[in-house]
């Protein structure tokens, strides 16, 4: 599905991605993890074409994404921060995003029901709370039926019920055979839904595999401690240097 070769990206003096090689197969939930500043968002934005890599290649289904924009018809993306034009209503925003996409079949009605957004449809976006905005954000992402879904911190600001619904939604999309890429800092959420972990450390892939393999590698009995042990060993290294 996605194949990334030797990807480098630098922002000014800050080398964020230092040669990423990554192969993501079709179908399943992949969690991209790593400490702050490890390059998770940069990696995701490179796949989406929002960040232009310094070198290396990204291919989606065998086709290079560079200088192309039509391929984004096959990706649904949930950005980290939800902020929309304040004077449009929720309805108008949904219509606008639909307008921009080639696939017109959408499941927005069902999603609006799922997240109980009906009372907000005619409200201006500037009057919505952070959590409600995040729900609108989720509707915008999941209403299209694309084979690749990228979620950047999807749980931010959600109440427990919406959180559960989101998990069900992700599971349902996975069952349709879709590929889902998630970043999150909430380890219990990741442990519950992820099939595979991609762990980024200092701009490189430190680990790729499923959760049992990660536990074996770190010698830790549970997932949260396994992640913590990677992080502490990397912090220790920093201190020694």
């Amino acid at each position: 599905m996605i194949s990334i070769e030797n990807l480098y990206k630098r922002f000014g003096k800050n080398q964020v991605l230092k040669g990423i090689d990554l192969e993501i197969e079709e179908g399943g939930i992949f969690a991209v993890l790593g400490p702050n500043g490890s390059g998770k968002t940069t990696l995701i934005k490179s796949i989406l074409g929002m960040v232009v890599p310094n070198s290396g290649s990204i291919k989606l289904n065998g086709k290079a994404v560079k200088n192309d924009w039509k391929y984004r018809n096959n990706i649904d993306y949930l950005p980290q921060i939800a902020n929309f034009p304040g004077n449009l209503s929720v309805k108008e925003l949904i219509r606008m995003i639909k307008d921009l996409r080639a696939h017109k079949t959408t499941g927005d009605k069902e999603l609006i029901e799922l997240f109980r957004l009906e009372p907000f449809l005619d409200k201006k976006l500037s009057n919505l709370s952070g959590g409600t905005k995040q729900k609108v954000n989720l509707v915008l992402t999941f209403m299209f039926d694309s084979p690749l879904i990228i979620l950047d911190e999807p749980t931010t600001g959600l109440d427990p019920i919406s959180h559960i619904r989101l998990k069900q939604l992700i599971q349902r999309e996975k069952d349709k055979g879709k590929t889902i890429l998630i970043t999150s800092h909430i380890m219990s959420f990741v442990e519950e839904i992820a099939d595979e972990i991609v762990f980024l450390l200092e701009g490189k892939i430190y680990f790729k595999g499923d959760i049992p393999a990660l536990k074996t590698k770190t010698g830790q009995p549970d997932f949260e401690h396994a992640i913590a042990s990677i992080l502490t060993s990397s912090y220790d290294k920093d201190i020694k240097v």
């Binding site: 922002f11 934005k45 989406l48 074409g49 929002m50 960040v51 232009v52 924009w69 039509k70 391929y71 984004r72 018809n73 990706i75 993306y77 950005p79 921060i81 939800a82 902020n83 929309f84 034009p85 304040g86 004077n87 449009l88 108008e92 606008m96 995003i97 307008d99 921009l100 996409r101 080639a102 915008l140």
Partner: protein
């Protein structure tokens, strides 16, 4: 691009600031007509206001809109849309809604006053056209500045500096150099200097049209002499169009290479 334009235009037309801007011009037009009772004088006063205010509002609105819609722009960038369409669409949304506030806000009182039955109709339309062009120019420049500066405060600072320079400082330097080099022939120099600043250029454009270039002193006389009224207006208009197209080209180019 049209789709992006449509929605950012919708969004802006409902914003409070668009109304404030519209009402300001409406009020200004009404007050001037009542106080002056003379269309031509009202047009000149308006020109003096427009030539300073329109660039200021254009730059501030442009920069503000860009930074405010940053997160939404990221969402749009992940959609199957060309980058240049996103930014040109947003740019046109801002500049057209500003230009509309100006044209309708000033147009209404003048229409009620009876501009269509008056000789000042030509001057008045030219005033609105240059006002609209200045909006297009300075919003485009604001977008260029915002695109090249991720830091909001810096972006605002540069935008204000640009306005201050073109609206105030430029003229000061120009006048000082005229005084300083008064022993030399300065016709060509002043001509070129005026051409290079869209604000000065708009002023000259309107004054040439009104045939009161004597009021403008040196610059106007030079323009009159060099171009005769018609050629002068054509050249100035071309120059203003260039002032719109160069920043537009830059928006397209910078947005194509930028990381978001």
């Amino acid at each position: 691009m049209i789709k992006i334009l449509k929605y950012s235009f919708y969004d802006l037309m409902r914003s409070r600031w668009s109304y404030v801007y519209f009402l300001f011009y409406l009020l200004l037009g009404l007050v001037l007509l009542f106080l002056n009772n003379d269309l031509s004088k009202a047009v000149i006063t308006l020109m003096n206001v427009i030539i300073i205010l329109v660039p200021l509002i254009g730059t501030i609105f442009g920069v503000m809109y860009y930074y405010n819609s940053k997160e939404f722009t990221e969402l749009l960038l992940a959609q199957p849309v060309k980058r240049s369409s996103i930014f040109l669409g947003q740019y046109l949304g801002v500049s057209l809604s500003l230009a509309m506030s100006l044209v309708i806000g000033l147009g209404l009182p003048f229409i009620f006053y009876g501009i269509f039955n008056s000789d000042a109709i030509g001057n008045f339309s030219l005033l609105l056209i240059t006002g609209a062009l200045l909006t297009l120019i300075f919003t485009a420049l604001a977008f260029v500045i915002a695109l090249t500066n991720d830091n909001k405060i810096k972006g605002f600072g540069y935008a204000i500096l640009l306005w201050l320079f073109l609206a105030v400082i430029y003229d000061g330097i120009f006048l000082m150099s005229l005084v300083f080099f008064e022993d030399y022939p300065l016709d060509k120099f002043s001509l070129i200097t005026t051409m290079l600043n869209p604000i000065d250029l708009s002023r000259v454009l309107i004054l040439l049209k009104m045939d009161i270039s004597a009021l403008l002193g040196y610059t106007g006389a030079v323009f009159q002499k060099f171009f005769g009224t018609n050629l002068g207006i054509i050249l100035s208009s071309l120059m203003l169009i260039l002032w719109v197209s160069i920043p537009l080209f830059l928006i397209k180019r910078i947005s194509g290479r930028k990381d978001f």
